[in-house]
Point group: C2
Chain length 352, copies 2
Amino acid sequence: MTIHPPKDINIVPFVSVDNMMKLVLNVGIETFLMELAGFIEEDFKRWELFDKTPRVASHSPKGVIELMPTSDGEVYGFKYVNGHPKNTRDGLQTVTGFGMLSNVDNGYPLLLSEMTILTALRTAATSALAARYLAPAGANCMAIIGNGAQSEFQAMAFKALLNVNKLRLFDIDSRATEKCIHNLAGKGFDITFCKTAEEAVEGAQIVTTVTADKQYATILTDNMVGAGIHINAVGGDCPGKTELHPDILLRSDIFVEYPPQTRIEGEIQQLSDNHPVTELWRVISGKEKARLRPDQTTLFDSVGFATEDFSALRYVRSKLPGTTYFDSLDMLADPDDPRDLFGMLLRAAQTP
Amino acid sequence: MTIHPPKDINIVPFVSVDNMMKLVLNVGIETFLMELAGFIEEDFKRWELFDKTPRVASHSPKGVIELMPTSDGEVYGFKYVNGHPKNTRDGLQTVTGFGMLSNVDNGYPLLLSEMTILTALRTAATSALAARYLAPAGANCMAIIGNGAQSEFQAMAFKALLNVNKLRLFDIDSRATEKCIHNLAGKGFDITFCKTAEEAVEGAQIVTTVTADKQYATILTDNMVGAGIHINAVGGDCPGKTELHPDILLRSDIFVEYPPQTRIEGEIQQLSDNHPVTELWRVISGKEKARLRPDQTTLFDSVGFATEDFSALRYVRSKLPGTTYFDSLDMLADPDDPRDLFGMLLRAAQTP
């Protein structure tokens, strides 16, 4: 990856929410997801060179604020992200975020970007990327259990990367399902509104669970999961928050992003610390086989990892040149003589 | 501290470099330093309630990029800061930074600010605040060894908080001293240009060392330091970077911000791990005596701590209402229905 420091190194390009939406729509949602998955795949292939610092969490009674840094040796990136399950009650997002890339060689920031929308896109792109390696060949029908903020992004990513065109939707709140059906109208899906989770998984080769705000919920029980399907478990992503019955885990082959993090935050927090799991990057790099038998149940226990945010920021940065989808922030003091910071301040008094 | 979430909670006030300079000049440099020291003092007094997470460092051959988070339980803050000693050769700052405050209860950001200038101000305010407790009574003459980017800020803070009006300046590069004298002209100082460090410390009751880019340098040797002075050691602030001969440390009473960090980064990295030190917050809270005897040598081994950045951001935030010294960043996606992030994206296609 080559770094092109901007001419005005003190100016940091900033992608606002408005500009992110314009960029995504201009590129096209499916193309964006496909290209983004390409960047994520590329970074999973060079997994070993990333600095995989654990995320730094600040917990409070109502939620958590986290910083997720990583670096590939040339570019450093971090994401600020919160998780406040009860925010929805106040009309706020449970998860918001922003991220930054900077130049490892001089420490100067290269990009600041909103990451609420971008995180939903990267999570969906990662899910679909994993499924491209793990799901049964020709799978075109997906159940989505939990039809909240992330559900449509998941649907679009699976359509873009795997040609999934049949959706079976269920949510305990039928208004969420109605919203999801409304938003996906005209996007090329054959959608079934399901009244129970049991009904949703009938005939689906892929089951995505993406519910929120549940303590040790059991969205899927063992008898609901037939042999040969792929489970994309997105919603269980912090300590105490899981979606699957442990019996499902015990008869699935489990794929994870980064075991030290997933054992704390993912579905596998319900299993022993040494339960065997396969790292997704090893499958993507061809070091491990993905699906071995048609009757195998595969499970991607997704929690989201810093490298995926890095890939997403790297992708967004690659799309900006020549566009107007960013603002220029005067974020870094850059006196002509680096030792003369105070002189720069004094001289500012002379400019209007 | 009361939190007043802005009406438009998705909009984050951003203080650019330009606006920071305007704010500082509008408030007045000395008033700014004095008020800022007040906020720092206030937070040192409630030290025990802060979440003191260690900083998260990403090291590379050319430098380090760090995230410094903290929280007082109501407001969370973090600073991004780099340290690249060789940046000066390329005309860049060795240290740049920016910071953020956010609301612990919902995770939404409250402020984004440049922190290159603000860090120089908070470091100087902290130095002068410590000296107000530690320096000999009536001290009005300070030596500054190292006349780079931080030197004038140190001088102004000591003037504002302690009425220091005599400066004795030395730098191995006389052009740095000339720059410092030029910048401080008309600010009410009686300044002596010194040709050696030995000359600079003559008659000074306070000695500030603020040099850069040195591996285990010895800016001050034992015979240069008379009894009864206060040493403000600012420049030694990372592993392998120190300024004082260990013999000075051995006969000084040493005050530090946060021992677990200072033992790694400060002058005391040269001493044994159990060498006695006093935490500055205990002096400021009245739990420990500062200076006991006139002939006592006191040393503030300053490395900079996350709570000081927090205080600085909190102070800047308090000054913004009613001013124009900030921009409004559209940083957080905030759909009317929090579950309808995708719908917000789709509707953006309908706005020009």
